[in-house]
Symmetry: C2
Subunit: 155 residues, 2 copies
DNA sequence: AAAGATTGAGAGGTCAATCTTA
DNA sequence: TAAGATTGACCTCTCAATCTTT
């Protein structure tokens, strides 16, 4: 156990797992302390905010929220919709599809969440990494993500 | 939305989230395809394998498995124990504590899981990153994790 | 028949309360 | 009373089956 893979790669992978778990948990703690919704809601609201007319098809949104399954997204959108932060409507060009539209309340909530989120990232990322390191980490891990995507599901 | 944090840090963070989610999902797919337990089980078995006498207190084990809560670990250990890969026993020095001991079956299962896990990491990490990059990612993200830990829970 | 999306059933996770020993 | 760990109630996620439209 442990052979056949050079150590630096395993160490790097463990570091990714730990940094991800710890920082994500910290963000959720801070959001909860501020009586704001969890990070998962931000992951849904943000792609909508960036999108043309603040509208996205469920399938497209699912592609942006990589941490959850298509099924899980349906349930998550149920809750965010119940909170009034977005609404669903039938797509008019292809009526099988569902469009999700960010509401004004959704925009407001997103704006109230961002400062909390940003403060945690600033403290632990900008506070410990140089910009050069941040670029390097981004490049390296984007290549990794690309490799996994290229291999495709169940390939 | 988007201000007050330099871009490279946000980009790096998104890369961490994506690489983590995609690679973790891929490992679980490959393990499932090989009729092996999920990655979470490996996270429990591995620290035990490394430990003195292949034994760890629940609290210590919880510290190693950073992706799950203390409560969640109790339930996870229930399942892994039911599968015969480890067993619990009362600690003799402090009988409030529970010790978890890896069984021979647990060792065997761990050894059968590793090649699958390693193959995915080799393909997507060793296949896309140089060793220097791996070192850099490790150093950078270990510092980030350290920063979060130092800030403490609810600090 | 296939694509887009949701739902029912069950697995797995968390928080607060509990049990046991120190 | 506090520490170590588990349990009860509840919430969220996933897989397979389903519904609707193409």
């Amino acid at each position: 156990v442990g052979a056949e893979l050079e150590e630096p790669y395993l160490d790097a992978w463990r570091a990714v797992l730990n940094a991800n778990a710890l920082l994500t948990a910290r963000v959720d703690e801070e959001l909860a302390a501020a009586r704001l919704p969890p990070l998962a809601w931000y992951d849904v609201l943000w792609p909508l905010y960036r999108a043309e007319e603040r509208t996205l098809r469920m399938g497209t949104l699912a592609g942006s929220v990589v941490t959850i399954s298509r099924t899980g997204l349906s349930r998550l959108v149920d809750r965010v919709e119940a909170a009034g932060l977005l609404r669903r409507r039938q797509a008019r060009d292809d009526r099988r599809g569902t469009e999700v539209v960010l509401t004004d309340e959704g925009v407001a909530k997103l704006r109230s969440m961002w400062p909390v989120y940003a403060r945690v990232l600033r403290e632990h990322l900008a506070g410990t990494l140089s910009e050069e390191e941040a670029f390097l980490v981004r490049d390296a891990l984007e290549r990794v993500a690309g490799s996994v995507r290229a291999a495709g599901a169940g390939a």
